[in-house]
């Protein structure tokens, strides 16, 4: 009996050791290739499985191939796995890469790691939502969507659908609704503000200056009095971050008879509009009805765009985000001056949703 045990142990230990030696030989080869000048970039994303991050990874790999760098793309299992991501960032730094591209889940949790990178003089490039409120000098540049410009794009898209109604409104008040998930996050607020500002500008072009009142959330209001204004843009922000609360706000807007357009400034808000509309018999949004415009993707929203209930939507460009992140990281590692890059946003509707240009950017 004892002998059997001993043999077992021996086999186990020797197999582990031989495995180790085998792998050691293998990795030494890759070490030497790294010395051959290939730059090593660690990319730490906010996720891994989600289609959005898959697209980011594709972009990152494209850049790695183009500039002959080696990348390691990692991300936690979901957007609440902060501890897992912090361990990943630490790991990435310990590997002493040429640069790190980072989309931090939580800046506070990552501060120690970011400090360590600075001490080791490893440049950090932010991508997607980047590293908000990062200590000065730690993040050299960001590759992210210019959310304000993306919001403007949404306004331009919607305006095509409501232009006639705006021009032909004779005396009756017309209303454009905006559902925003929140007004604390910079990215979502910028998307909302970009939309509101651009829409005011476009509508004023038709009805004259000072004729568009922005009401609703205090942070977004303008000075024009609602009373007597021919066009009202009404923003609504749910009190809680729940689907139900978002839906309530959207429904309040949809039930106003003077509503001609409605915009949801992220996936949450777009979903709220769709769900609210489902709850109204007959539905209020669609062609020749209320013109609805969304942001990002998601199964529900994609279906709404395909079936033309949504006039269109804005999508970010995750492939470009990944590509630019790695490109910036490589430039930073070379010591070149780097600056923020807008990775762009695109308008999509039923006509181009399946096109080669748009389809890879969308996710369910």
């Amino acid at each position: 009996m004892f002998k059997v045990k001993k043999k077992m142990g021996l086999i186990l230990v020797s197999s582990i050791v031989s495995l180790g030696l085998l792998a050691a030989c293998g990795s030494e080869e890759s070490d030497s290739s790294a010395e051959g000048g290939k730059m090593k970039i660690e990319v730490v994303a906010k996720g891994f499985q989600h289609d959005f991050w898959r697209a980011v990874k594709t972009g990152a790999e494209n850049a790695a191939e183009e500039f002959d760098a080696e990348i390691q793309f990692v991300g936690p299992k979901n957007e609440s796995a902060i501890a897992e991501q912090v361990e990943m960032i630490n790991n990435a730094i310990n590997k002493k890469p040429s640069a790190i591209a980072l989309a931090a889940l939580d800046t506070n949790a990552s501060l120690d790691a970011i400090q360590k990178a600075m001490n080791n003089e490893i440049p950090i490039i932010g991508f997607d939502s980047g590293v908000p409120d990062a200590p000065e000098g730690s993040v050299l540049a960001n590759a992210s969507t210019d959310n304000y410009a993306a919001g403007e794009l949404a306004a331009e898209g919607m305006f095509k659908g409501i232009e006639e109604k705006v021009a032909s409104a004779n005396g009756d008040v017309i209303r454009i609704g905006v559902v925003a998930q929140e007004v604390n996050s910079l990215s979502i607020t910028a998307r909302t503000e970009g939309f509101v500002d651009k829409m005011v500008e476009l509508v004023e072009g038709k009805v004259g200056k000072g004729k568009v009142a922005v009401t609703g959330h205090a942070k977004l209001e303008n000075d024009v009095k609602v009373k007597g204004a021919p066009v009202v843009i009404e923003t609504r922000v749910p009190a809680q971050l729940t689907d139900a609360a978002g839906q309530t706000e959207a429904q309040t807007l949809l039930e106003k008879s003077d509503l001609i357009g409605i915009y949801g400034s992220n996936e949450f808000a777009a979903k709220a509009i769709i769900n609210a509309d489902n709850a109204i018999s007959g539905g209020k949004i669609g062609p020749d009805k209320v013109i609805a415009v969304g942001f990002d993707s998601g199964a529900l929203q994609l279906d709404a765009v395909k079936t033309e209930r949504f006039y269109g939507s804005i999508t970010q460009d995750p492939i470009s985000i990944g590509y630019q992140a790695v490109k910036l990281a490589i430039e930073a590692a070379k010591g070149e001056e780097v600056a923020d890059v807008d990775t762009g946003a695109k308008w999509y509707d039923a006509s181009n949703i399946d096109s080669e240009e748009i389809a890879p950017l969308l996710y369910e």
């Binding site: 582990i16 070490d31 361990e87 310990n94 501060l111």
Partner: protein
Amino acid sequence: MNTKIEKEHSSNLLLSITKNQKFIAAVALFIIYLFFFVSSTAFRSTDTLTSIFDASYYIGFLAIGVTFVIITGGIDLSIGTVMMCTAIIGGVLYTNLGLPLWLALLSMIAVGALFGLINGVLVARFKLPAFIATLGTMMVARGLGSIVSDVQSITFPLRGSEDGWYKSIFRLENNFPMGIVVLLIFTILAAVILNKTKIGRYIFAIGSNREATRLSGVNVNKWETLAYVISGICAGVAGIAYAATYTTILPGEGAGFELDAIAGVVIGGTSLSGGVGTIFGTIIGVFIMSVLKVGLPYIDLQPHYQLFITGIVVIIAVYFDVRRRYKRG
């Protein structure tokens, strides 16, 4: 004559294997570390070692606590979410209610102990199966964290801020991993309680044979409950370690950490059927998992390979456990 010798031989064997399991785990830890050390030049840094320690603290405390419960023959599935729940409650007490930080941290341990007490009473007094009772408190803790925080994330004070001192319990300003010292002291303390005190003796006795222990006049309900309370206290300490290491606490998280801790316990040679186990084995088990977690990316394997490999290690460890019991039987 022959059979007698064989019997003696096998009882010696039993003794040597019981000691062996911890030994095997230590050797495995050494080999795994050596493997990464040889494979990757970047792995050979103190920063990497610090990362391994960082990843071990909270799981280490959880695992030490649950070792007591597992030795009684029970299980505690609630520790992961209880840990997060204590951290959220501590954070709310500090940020929203303005309690001094030291008091908030102590309250976390108290909350953990309370959860342990509830588990203990449910299992020892009301005879609920430990698996089900602690599954229930696991969900309760998860929900409670969300209720208390109103589903908002909680941020503990940052390093360098007025109340940032608690971070130095686990990492000094000069990056010295103080936490490993704290964890080792805690380990020794737990080992002394388990091996040198009445508490430990009765916990082992309950795990070996609950009925015999009861018949010999021991208040088994009390000591079994105490094992769960110890587990809860450790979850509170783990909550402090987690907050110090990761700063931001999200409500509704923590599920899954208990399985990491239990895996560490099993790898370290503690028998899931109770009556056998060591604290040092548990710590070695935890470090095996941390070394794998931190080491694998160095050989360009994604972290999910860690799950795969840890799973195999757990199966091997349980295999040894089953062999041992088979022989004892």
